[in-house]
C-alpha cells in the first residue's frame, strides 16, 4: 500500500516530467481508470476535514438545556442590502430570515420570543423580518427593551402579543432622505408610498389606527430638530401600539400560555 502511494506521487506531473521519457506514456493510460473512484472518497474526506478543523475558541461549553422556545434578538441596525461599516452593531436580515424558517420547520420549537433593541435600519429588510415574524404559524411574543425605533416598530408589532419594558422607547418619525431637498413631487410621492407600507403594516398588526399613527409620526414639538414622537413604555400601550407593559417574566409567561393554547387547539383538531 505505501509503496503504491509513493509510485503514484512519482507518476504525477512534477516528477513524471523529469523522469525518463518513455515512462509517462504507459503511466498515463491507467490513470484515467483509477481517477474516478479515487475522487469520490476524496471529496468525502475533504468534507470531514473541514468539519474536524472547525474549532470553537475562547468559550466554555454551556450545559445544553433543551428549550421549546426560540429566542430571536434584533439589535443595533437592521442591515439590508448594504453592508454597514464596522462601528455599527447590526442584525443581518439574511441570517434572521433562515433562522425564522428553521424555527418554523423545527418540531422542537413551539414558540418564538423576539427581543428588540434596535435603532432602525433598512426599510426592506425590516419589513421582510416583520412579515416573516407575522406569518409564523407558531406563537410569537415580542419584547421591546431599551429601544425599538423607526423600522423596529413594525417588527415589534408583528408578533401575536407584544410587550414593552417600562423604560423602553419607540421613536415614530417619517421616512426621509437625510439632507436631501426633495425637488420633484414624484420623489415625495415615492417616499410617501414607502411610508405607507410601514404605516399600513403597523395598523394591521396592532390596535393603533392609521390616522393616529400618522398623527404621531408628523407631530411637532416633541423631538428636537425633528418631527415625530417618542413613545415611552406605558404611552405605547396607551396608543394601542403595544399590548402590555412588562419584562421578560411576563413575556415568557404569555408565550407559554399561547403555546398551551396552540397545543390544546391541535388536540381538538385531532
Amino acid at each position: 500500500m505505501p509503496n503504491r502511494r509513493i509510485t503514484d506521487y512519482l507518476n504525477r506531473p512534477p516528477f513524471s516530467g523529469s523522469q525518463d521519457v518513455p515512462q509517462p506514456a504507459p503511466a498515463e493510460q491507467p490513470q484515467p481508470a483509477t481517477a474516478p473512484p479515487a475522487e469520490a472518497p476524496g471529496t468525502e474526506d475533504q468534507k470531514k476535514k473541514v468539519l474536524d478543523s472547525i474549532t470553537q475558541l475562547g468559550q466554555t461549553n454551556v450545559p445544553q438545556l433543551e428549550s421549546n422556545i426560540y429566542c430571536l434578538t434584533i439589535i443595533g441596525q437592521v442591515e439590508g442590502h448594504i453592508q454597514l461599516p464596522p462601528q455599527n452593531k447590526t442584525t443581518k436580515y439574511e441570517h434572521i430570515i433562515p433562522q425564522l424558517v428553521a424555527a418554523e420547520q423545527n418540531s422542537k420549537v413551539e414558540g418564538v420570543l423576539v427581543i428588540l433593541n434596535t435603532v432602525g435600519g433598512d426599510v426592506e429588510a425590516g419589513l421582510a423580518i416583520a412579515e416573516m415574524v407575522s406569518s409564523l404559524s407558531k406563537p410569537v411574543v415580542t419584547l421591546v427593551l431599551g429601544g425599538g425605533h423607526s423600522i423596529g416598530v413594525p417588527i415589534a408589532v408583528a408578533g401575536d402579543y407584544s410587550f414593552i419594558a417600562e423604560t423602553a422607547t419607540m421613536t415614530i418619525h417619517p421616512i426621509r432622505l437625510t439632507g436631501l431637498v426633495i425637488g420633484v413631487p414624484q420623489t415625495f410621492e415615492y417616499l410617501d408610498k414607502m411610508q405607507d407600507r410601514v404605516v399600513s403594516f403597523i395598523a394591521r398588526h396592532s390596535k393603533i389606527s392609521e390616522e393616529k399613527f400618522r398623527e404621531l409620526m408628523l407631530r411637532t414639538g416633541e423631538l428636537t430638530r425633528d418631527i415625530g414622537t417618542n413613545v415611552i413604555g406605558a404611552d405605547a400601550v396607551k396608543y394601542g401600539l403595544i399590548d402590555e407593559v412588562g419584562g421578560l417574566g411576563k413575556a415568557l409567561k404569555k408565550l407559554n400560555e399561547l403555546i398551551e393554547k396552540a397545543r390544546s387547539g391541535e388536540k381538538v383538531l385531532q
Binding site: 478543523s53 448594504i82 453592508q83 454597514l84 461599516p85 462601528q87 432602525g120 425605533h149 410601514v198
Partner: protein, 76 residues
C-alpha cells in the same frame, strides 16, 4: 435602499471604505458556504453563512463572528 433609523446617516455610513477594503474568502462546509474574513494564518471570522439547510443557521458555531480554523487548501 431606504434608510429608516434614528441614527443619523453620516454616523452610520462613516468608515465605509473599511468595508470595501475587506478581503473575504469563501470556504465550503458540506453543502454550506462560509464567508470568512481571515484574521491570521488559516484562521478567520465568519462574516456570513450561505446554506440551503435552515437548521445550519441555528448552529451557534456557524454564527457570524465565530472564529474558525481551517487547514491549508492543498488543491488550490
Amino acid at each position: 435602499m431606504i434608510f429608516y433609523s434614528v441614527v443619523p446617516m453620516e454616523v452610520v455610513f462613516a468608515n465605509m471604505e473599511q468595508v470595501e477594503k475587506r478581503e473575504l474568502r469563501e470556504l465550503p462546509l458540506g453543502e454550506a458556504t462560509m464567508v470568512v474574513e481571515p484574521t491570521g494564518p488559516y484562521e478567520g471570522r465568519i462574516v456570513r453563512l450561505i446554506s440551503p439547510n435552515p437548521q445550519d443557521y441555528l448552529n451557534p458555531r456557524l454564527a457570524p463572528g465565530e472564529t474558525v480554523r481551517f487547514r491549508p487548501d492543498w488543491h488550490a
